[in-house]
Subunit: 240 residues, 6 copies
């Protein structure tokens, strides 16, 4: 996850944007069924990331269901929506989220046969042979099919945007509690998140309050996966 | 086929998805006329594969008929359909199947003149000369023709999807028997498969039950071909 | 032509497909005016080829007429049509034939000004300079023209398909005689072919029957050209 | 910023174009809410730049709001509009401005989900691997989507053009004062700019007039960022 | 011009095609105003060429008029038309002619502003830098313009085809005299050509008949330019 | 400018074409407001150039106005128009002129925001990194926009063609005087050009007639810029 960045001076306004953004991911992550549980949320910058919501699967995952993938798109939308609903503004901070959501939507349509276009694949991956990384999708379909793919991807992402917006608007109080506590404490673990959202006092008095040592209740696996959610980054549109 | 993977911990739910998926391939493979006989089905992971249905031709094959190719597409569809019909969910595990079916459908239209577009070829293979592997289909036709190709490929795959779905729905009982036995035993050979599907006891008491040594009845060739069906793999959409 | 392949075990059904396929080429080759005479037909596999119909020009050819080219396309169609008419099935074995016919049709339209698009060329050959072989047709025309080219190529090939089908259906008896004798003897020379098609006994009793030494009547040139007709090959769609 | 270019002989007419151009950027920069404050404006050529308007953020910026980005586009438009409104002519000097504005508008639509096309990304950046710089946007969408993107980018830039034009026409007197003083003095700092625009005498008599030493009032950061506004350059269309 | 090819055995029919083809170029070349004078015509094969009509400009040429270029296209069409009109057949031998005519027509539209598309250029030549030869036309225009270019090129070539056909049909007697004499003598010089076309005896008795030594009347330049007309070649469609 | 080419033998007709062509550039250059003054016109071939009209700016130029650029296009059109109006023919000699005019028109639309498409840029320059020269315009816009760009470029060039034609037809007498004197003297300087066009005797008797030593009146800069107008060249369409 990289070392924490201490030297960066951030305005309160910037921090507030990040807190609401991450709280948006977190809350949608709690409410969407079958999603990997939210493990941690933080607004302490690390490396390129200004904030981070981390999900942790309950075991090795081998296959992903259509419902799981739709849920991930909804979670990715949660950050931008929180900015919009509570701060009445949208920022460049969601660019990784929407790129990721677009890619997930596109893979559902073009690789996994999970859309109205049916159980076919569209496009071929071209690998860069010497470097072993994919450079481009080779397009082997007609413009007509391209239009239908675009429409399906847009429909999928838009529906999850609406779903995430509904979740956030249904839970305004919890969202504000979560965002403001996150702004104050900077990091929250899975138990604290659940308590705040449920309206309970953040720290259960029967457990020790030491942040690092407290046993994590729901995470059975000691080896955390790479986080599904891209961290919110401080991309500079002026140099993009 | 690679060594068996023992270390992987899989949930029962994951195993169930894989068992029904493979049973879907197997049952359609039994019912489609002129297909290569199903030799074995397993849900023991090997290498990248989480499960495998293996067909074995009854001799060297030199040419493939249109009926054979349509049958292969139907068999490839069987896995996804089984998930849908019995588990009411679809997963990323079918991505190789649908990629393969799309390629078969496309080759019928563009290479083998087996569609309404007639006895012409469409597109030229560009080989990567130094590495000897094909990198792209060179498109030498109009957008108009591209649209017709897409429509034909979609029609072919969709018709085989419907055919496979019909087969599976006509054989619900056999499918459940086959899937649940596979979940229990993890591997089934050609004779066992046929007995289960026919509603007979799985092991004929007149033959020895040793799994490896039992003579294989219908497979005349000692040298198994590369399996036509791609194994079901655990692709991770989060890193795709 | 490569050495004969002896080791390959082929089913009777496969051999029958190949015999009718080659007989189709051969019969159309006999009936189309101005075509290079058929020199030999065989179903003994050599190299990649499972069967072969060989034409031999009556002298050096310098220019090819439009009629000659149309005739070649008809001959190429003969193999697929024979499978369809007599075996009620079509196979992947015709893929080289239809690729070749498509290329001939395209060259008539795009290089030789032999279509309704008039005396112009369309597209530029891009050579791969260091290897001296053409890699792609550079497209220097509009989508509109591309559509017209596709239509013309399709029209040309379809007309020759219909013409070859008519020839084969008009000569059903001769076709069956030719195919069945080929299945039996595996190779036939020009004289034998003509005798069978004419309904005469296959071997004229006044000539010696030694296959290799018998003087070839109509082939004046000792040096056979590369065969115009691509051999029928055993391409495997599963690995294509 | 490069050394000042002294040797270049410029006509008064050329200088006047540059002064009005830079004053246009500056005035719009003052009037647009939430923009980074204008730090300095100069028409002394440095390096390739014939003039320069420099903005300085009030702190590190991590995210950019949609409003900020729209404001930057309006500021970029200010130069061309000033030429048009006051000198009744347009020049090639705005080419960097309009390129920059187009890129900002396109990134809002394609990277940041800030348009009517919704929270999706369009296109993939292709990096030139060995040199680490982006060479092209890989287009992974349909022509239909391309048309919508073009329309949105055009709409965004046109709206900011209209907004900047309105600001400049509402402040004709201030614009003329600012441009003419800039023509005379060649460089103005943030305080002088504000005084001129407000109609006050340019130099507050209570502060020392030394240009370099005067304390800068509103710029808290000692380390100036790279200027957002591209300098106006003397591009030569004859050699372009 | 390469050495004469003596070893090639050509049928009379092939020679007849070539003689009429070359006579077609020659006659149109005589009748089109402002064309470079025809210097020689031959059906003796040299190098790749099976026949050759050679034009020789009356001096260095610096610019080419639109009329000159249209005339060249008509001359190029003359070969194919002669085959069609007199032999009732068209061959692949005209492929270089129609390629050349298409290129001339395209350059009139795209490089020289000599069509209804007006005084603009369309497309940019991409040179292959290291080898110094042009590999492709870079297309920098819309599909709409591409359609108009195709239409103009087709119109230009078709009009010259019609013009050349009219010339040949108006001069049937001369064409037959010219072709048959060429078939007999194999090579004709400028004076002989003019005498034959005019209906005069082929050899003026007042001049010596030695073919090589006879002074050439109208060719002032001793250094022949590269022939404008591509030689007729024996391209083999079967290996194209 | 290269050494004068003495060895080339040119017909009077060719010289006449060049003289009228250059006179066309020169006259339009004199009559278009705000253009760089014409410094010299010559029909003495140098290097690749058969003739040359040279403009010389009155000082360093930093920015170019829209009016200046339109004027340059008109001047470029002047050569072709003079051929058309006075010699009733058009030649390949204008190919550089129309290429240059098309590029200027395109840059006005795509780089400088000087058309109805508004203050946006279209397309990105792709540089060839290792050689530092631009190879292609990267197209990042839709086909729809491409059509609009083509229409604007055509409109711009066509309007300037009409404008230049009007200028030349309004000044027929001056054009003939200028062309014929140029044909006679081969080179004319700025003063001579102005005298001829005004109908005055070519050499003012109060000044010495030595061509090289005569003081040049209006050219303040000793260092001539690279000429804006491409020289007329003798491109050979037969080898293009």
């Amino acid at each position: 996850m990289g070392a924490e960045r201490k030297s960066m001076i951030m305005t309160n306004e910037d921090k507030r944007v990040i807190a609401y953004h991450e709280a948006g991911h977190t809350l949608v992550g709690l409410k969407v069924p079958n999603a990997d549980p939210v493990h941690k949320v933080t607004i302490i910058p690390r490396g390129m990331a200004l904030g981070l919501t981390q999900q942790l699967p309950e075991g090795d995952r081998f296959n992903y269901t259509k419902e799981y993938m739709l849920g991930q798109i909804a979670i990715l939308m949660g950050g931008r929506i929180a900015e919009e609903v509570f701060l009445n503004s949208i920022t460049t901070g969601a660019s990784n989220d929407i790129e990721r959501a677009t890619e997930l939507g596109r893979s559902m349509v073009c690789e996994y046969g999970m859309s109205d276009l049916g159980p076919l694949t569209f496009g071929k991956k071209e690998e860069q042979i010497f470097l072993g990384r994919e450079i481009a999708q080779h397009r082997d379909f007609s413009e007509d099919t391209a239009i239908k793919i675009d429409q399906e991807v847009k429909r999928i992402v838009s529906e999850q945007y609406a779903r995430a917006k509904h979740i956030i608007e249904e839970n305004r109080e919890a969202m504000i509690r979560l965002s403001e506590t996150l702004l104050e404490r900077e990091s929250l673990d899975a138990v604290q998140i659940r308590r705040i959202v449920s309206g309970l006092p953040i720290d259960d008095e029967s457990t020790p309050s030491a942040d690092e040592d407290r046993p994590q209740l729901k995470e059975p696996s000691a080896k955390p996966l790479k986080p599904i959610l891209p961290p919110i980054t401080g991309s500079n549109p002026a140099t993009a």
